[in-house]
Amino acid sequence: MALHFSSAHPISALHPLLCFFLHDTYPEMEYASGLQRQLASMKKNLFDQGYLDEQFYQLEELQDESSPNFVEEVVTLFFRDSSRLVANIDQALQKYPQDFRRLDNFMHQLKGSASSIGAAKMKNECTSFREFCNKENREGCLRSFQKVKKEHAVLKQKLENYFQLLKQVGPVDKATHSGN
């Protein structure tokens, strides 16, 4: 599994110090807490860089004993559905002449879907796509759609990593995850 800190982060600077400190006293904990920190950091990045927004926190709030993997389930569902939508849009874009109304409908759906998990960047790209659609700017639509696809793919990868790490860290107190 690739774990990397994608950007300079205060914690990463502290990390060596903490490692040193914890290593002496609580080696197992250090490992676990290291993972947790990674997880927290990863998550923070996702938010800071605008991949995710408030809605994602809402999903986490909904997670409870009766649905302990709620967030992951929702995210999985999202990517499955949105991939289908993206493929539809791809197809629709191939057609000529362009049916902008239909494209707009698709994109509206995709945007609504993206909002469900808080996929902020993706949502923004959807919005600009719709603007191009309104102006019936085919070129603009094509370019914009490439961006949408890219954001979709990037987010998918990041969240996959996130959930993998989450599994490794194991069930942890929510506060730990979101707090760090």
Binding site: V74, L77, D81, G112, S115
Partner: protein, 593 residues
């Protein structure tokens, strides 16, 4: 319908609120379900609007509130909204990622009690119970108002223009009916509001069986001699009131008259090209985005004594026997217009139409059965037809559905008003409340009180046929003599009489609103979508997004006019129908849903 856990639910309210969530996005559906469960609500999810609708129809009392997305592939959310409002009168909350004012306004116009923006927050969902509660309160209040008004009307109009026969009937029965209603009302008053779902709505559904009984009774008595009381006695259906029968009879008569007229007048009767009809109707459907159903091209009311009745009359084999000619049409075509279904091809057989029409909540399948074997054409529409016939106007005041009424000019010089429903939704409710007036129909004359009422040349048979509708569409409004006066509410109690019952039956919506000249300006100020009553425009063709109940009410200037009361009442689905219909000079078909 009492639920066994009623007492438990009542105490726990709003916990246990039964919510139906409709959204084509599976991710959102999952999230909303979770959120609502966290609010301690009972959640049912549905990803297809059509499924949701059939679920709602099958079990009318199963849900307290519906939450629906606006954009769905199989049916427009606004359309679903209208359906639900009309048929089930449940509060509906719309959701969308699109928060544009125009969309939100459209939602409200169609009767949404709230419009949530996605992403939806828990705190917003926590409060949805208030819509349920509010609605119940409102309904009770309406009943109270209605009762009060009824009293006034009885005093004021009780003896006007009544046939001897009807008069006697009316008077003797009104008081007994009122007594019945009083009892019902008391029940309401005493009920705890803890569980709003327990509040009963009295409504008569003219099912196939019921209508068949009705028809049998009518035939047995003989249409000439028939009267509501006799029918009621013969039918021997517990719980059916004389008023129910009376209004149904009126509709039936109109329906028959219309059939008769059509067969007399039309050369092409029923030969409307199906394609044409279908296409047109489809076009109509397409016209309005969400309000296909109700487009009321014009609510011209008619004029004069004849009431344009809602053709909700169930088709019956005896139609041919009716000699009276009823100019009213429209509803039939409306029927066909039930939004989602393809327009029925040929409404020659009125019976078909009406059958569709008046059946509330009937599934298309049932309609088929109800239809006479001979006329196969009608079919159609009714995929959804039965339901929508009457546009009930949910208390939220949305006039989601507008009937299209177009005036068809015809060479026929009778001043008959024909309302053709252009729109798909069956909103129609021309209400002819006055039984006795059936005879008068042919004498329809412009209502003197409202000069703006154009008289419409009756369009022969067309009215009933979808074909006619399409024709009309093509022609556009032929003679709209001006005006925007669409609904003419003559201020007569008649409409009122008709309305409640019909509303209950969901058959007709005796919406007659008088547009006084000054309302012209008001008309202008209505949302662009609302072409409602503009005769000049074929409302049906345009996107009648109007729900404007609020608008409408604004237009009705005097709160204590009959009009308003009637309208108000008719818009309240749950009002019981107390009145014996008396003279209804105008039948307003347009349901401002």
């Amino acid at each position: 319908m009492e639920r066994p856990l009623f007492s438990v639910r009542a105490e726990a309210f709003p916990a246990g609120l039964r919510v139906l969530v409709v959204d084509d996005d599976p991710t959102w559906l999952k999230i909303l379900e979770k959120m609502l469960r966290k609010c301690s609500y009972e959640v049912t999810t549905c990803s297809l609007a059509t499924d949701a609708l059939s679920m709602l129809r099958e079990q009318k009392d199963k849900f307290d509130i519906v939450i629906s997305d606006v954009n769905m592939p199989d049916m427009d959310g606004f359309k679903l909204l209208e359906h639900v409002g009309l048929e089930m009168d449940l509060p509906v909350i719309m959701m969308s990622i699109d928060g544009e004012t125009s969309r939100v306004m459209k939602g409200v116009q169609h009767g949404a009690c709230d419009y949530l923006l996605k992403p939806v927050r828990m705190k917003e969902l926590k409060n949805i119970w208030q819509h349920v509660y509010r609605k119940k309160m409102h309904e009770l209040k309406e009943i109270q108002t209605h009762y009060n008004n009824e009293d006034i009307n009885i005093l004021r109009y009780g003896s006007e223009d009544l046939d001897d026969r009807n008069l006697t009937d009316g008077i003797t029965n009104i008081s007994s009916a009122r007594k019945r209603k009083d009892v019902d009302y008391k029940e309401f008053g005493d009920q705890e509001f803890g569980d709003p779902s327990r509040l009963k709505k009295a409504r008569v559904v003219w099912s196939v069986d019921l209508h068949q009984k009705f028809v049998n009774a009518v035939n047995q008595i003989g249409l000439d001699k028939v009267g509501p009381k006799k029918i009621l006695d013969l039918m021997n259906v517990p719980g059916l009131t004389r008023e129910n029968v009376a209004s149904h009879l009126q509709k039936y008569r109109l329906y028959l008259s219309r059939l008769q007229k059509q067969s007399e007048d039309s050369t092409s009767g029923g030969n409307m090209p199906s394609d044409l009809i279908n296409n047109d109707n489809v076009a109509n459907f397409e016209l309005t985005s969400s309000t296909n159903m109700q487009q009321c091209s014009e609510h011209t009311k008619h004029v004069g004594t004849s009431e344009n009745l809602v053709p909700g009359i169930i088709a019956d084999a005896h139609i041919g026997d009716i000699k009276k000619i009823v100019p009213v049409q429209g509803i039939e075509s409306e029927k066909g217009l039930i939004s989602d279904s393809p327009i029925s091809q040929n409404f020659n057989n009125v019976p078909r139409l009406s059958a569709l029409f008046s059946f509330k909540g009937m599934t298309p399948g049932i309609e088929e059965k109800a239809r006479e074997p001979t006329t196969s054409k009608h079919q159609t529409l009714h995929d959804g037809a039965p339901r929508m016939q009457c546009m009930h106007y949910p208390g939220q005041g949305n006039c989601g559905m507008l009937d299209d009424y177009s005036y068809l000019s015809s060479s026929d010089q009778d001043h008959q008003v024909s309302f053709n429903l252009c729109s798909s939704s069956p909103v129609i409710s021309a209400t002819v409340t006055n039984e006795k007036d059936m005879k008068d129909l042919s004498e329809m004359k412009p209502v003197p009180t409202d000069q703006r009422n154009a008289h419409f040349a009756a369009i022969p048979q067309v009215a009933c046929m979808t074909g006619s509708v399409s024709l009309q569409i093509k022609h556009g409004m032929v003679h709209s003599q001006d005006a925007g006066a669409i609904c003419k509410l003559d201020g007569s109690p008649n409409t009122k009489g008709c309305s409640t019952e019909q509303i209950d039956n969901q058959e007709c919506f005796p919406l007659t609103c008088e547009f006084s000249p000054k309302s012209e300006a008001e008309l202008d100020s209505l949302p662009g979508d609302l072409h409602l009553c503009s005769i000049q425009k074929f409302g049906c063709f345009e996107d009648v997004g109007f729900g404007g109940a609020e608008n409408f009410q604004d237009i009705i200037s005097t709160p204590d006019t009959q009009v308003q009361n009637d309208w108000y009442i008719s818009s309240e689905l749950n009002n019981d129908y107390l009145y014996e219909t008396v003279d209804y000079p105008l039948i307003d078909e347009c349901l401002f849903a």
